[in-house]
């Protein structure tokens, strides 16, 4: 480990970006690595001395913006302009997923799962079952625990799309994740599960 390969690198003075010098034998992946390095460098320049703060420190401006967008999305939803709500939620989502990577990923998970869940609800209200299902699925994937609303919405969309088997699976999974709060919050899940089971039975009878 005492040696290293001296790479043919140079720096462009104006933008301070590192560039490879032309070589006879191209080095694989070098250009990709340098691109990533340069973009990271540009992103880090916003801090004193280009040292990113520890993950615990969050840029409050971005959080505030995300919250504001989500709140206006909720307001639009209450006014029943669901299309606007979806647009606002999408903007909030973009902001949330655009968080710099040295900030806490847990926060991104939390925020994104909530926004996805809300957008699923707006999509359900517009009867865009496929989009609603996808959003709810994202939400469940990001945060399976304590996310009973997203599980319910995902199953509801599947049921409306007549994907009864999938809906049943999702509901059972959701119930498992909610097992800790059994009897308190998972009532709706169980009710929907009963509905779906009934539908499956009827379908089987009809096909016999």
């Amino acid at each position: 480990m005492e040696s290293f390969t001296l790479l043919p690198l140079t720096m462009e003075d104006s933008s301070k970006s590192i560039l490879p010098l032309p070589t006879t034998v191209p080095i694989p992946d070098l250009a990709d690595h340098l691109n990533e390095l340069n973009s990271l460098h540009r992103n880090l320049l916003q801090f004193d001395n280009a040292i990113p703060p520890p993950p615990g420190l969050i840029n409050p401006k971005r959080s505030a913006q995300i919250n504001k967008l989500r709140e206006s999305g909720n307001a639009a939803f209450r006014k029943q302009s669901f299309g606007d709500a979806v647009k606002l939620y999408s903007l909030a989502l973009e902001m949330c997923l655009g968080r710099p990577h040295w900030e806490q990923s847990a926060l991104v998970r939390e925020e994104a799962s909530m926004i996805y869940s809300n957008r699923a609800q707006a999509n359900i209200a517009m009867r865009n079952w496929a989009e609603g299902m996808c959003d709810a699925e994202m939400s469940c994937g990001l945060k399976p625990k304590d996310n009973v609303k997203a599980w319910y919405r995902r199953a509801l969309c599947l049921k409306e799309m007549n994907k009864l088997e999938d809906a049943r699976e999702v509901l059972e999974m959701g119930c498992e994740w909610e097992a800790e709060n059994q009897g308190k919050t998972d009532g709706d899940l169980r009710a929907l599960l009963r509905d779906v089971l009934k539908l499956v039975e009827e379908k089987e009878k009809a096909s016999l």
Binding site: T5, I18, I51, P54, H101, K149, D188, E202
Partner: protein
Amino acid sequence: MALNLATFIPPILYIAIIVGSMATFSSLYRKRKAQAAASMEPWFPASLSRDIYLTLLHLPDTPNPPKIPDSVLRAALLRRATDVIQKAITIRQSKGPLQTLLQRGSVGDDTWNQFLQAEQEIDAEIKEVAEDAMALSTQNAQWAQFIFQSAAEMITNDRLRQKLEEQKLKSEEWAEWWGKKTEKVRSEFLASEGVDVAEKHGVSVNPAMVLTSTLPAKTGNVSDEDGVLVEADAAASVASPMSPNLGKSPKGTPTGGTPTGTPSGSVRKKKGRK
């Protein structure tokens, strides 16, 4: 006196031969071992981020060097740190299983030695990165204390984004499947309603517009928003004959619960309509 010397020669000779042969053996053995260690295949492939960082660090030694600002060095070091962390995680995760395999005799000693060497190297590299971070930190920010935190967070974030990207692709497939299905059902529905689909399609591509024109009551306010809602409603009512079980729920314009309400609150509202 001469007699005494003669009696001492055999034991001294014996000791000399024994020590000498042992020394030769040990030196040969060590040399071989060192050779084997040097020729061992490295556990990880050569790290490009490490090479980039060290090259940038050593560029001043080359003829007419560019002046590398510290910020670039910091970015390069951070990228190297993410690399090191990833390797350290791999090492830690594979140590247990590899040990088990070694005990069962599934892997040879050489693999184990290779692994131990890699572990040492990674430990050394972690120290090196920490030292460099210390050298690059300022008085306000002792970077060595949190460079690895940042690096680890960057790795988790990268993975999260990757996972989301995959999920998005899956979702798009779903949306496409459902879009095709509803399209099919809608055209069947329009055909059964006696609307000349072909002609209408020639005029407007949007089936929602077709529907709004067939429903005179709705044409009063044909805003963009209404068009979408009508389309959605129509899709739902079309979907019901396909799935007779679903038809029992009244399909009005849903009010829905507020997304921020309590979980049971918003959900219960939906249930009430069923």
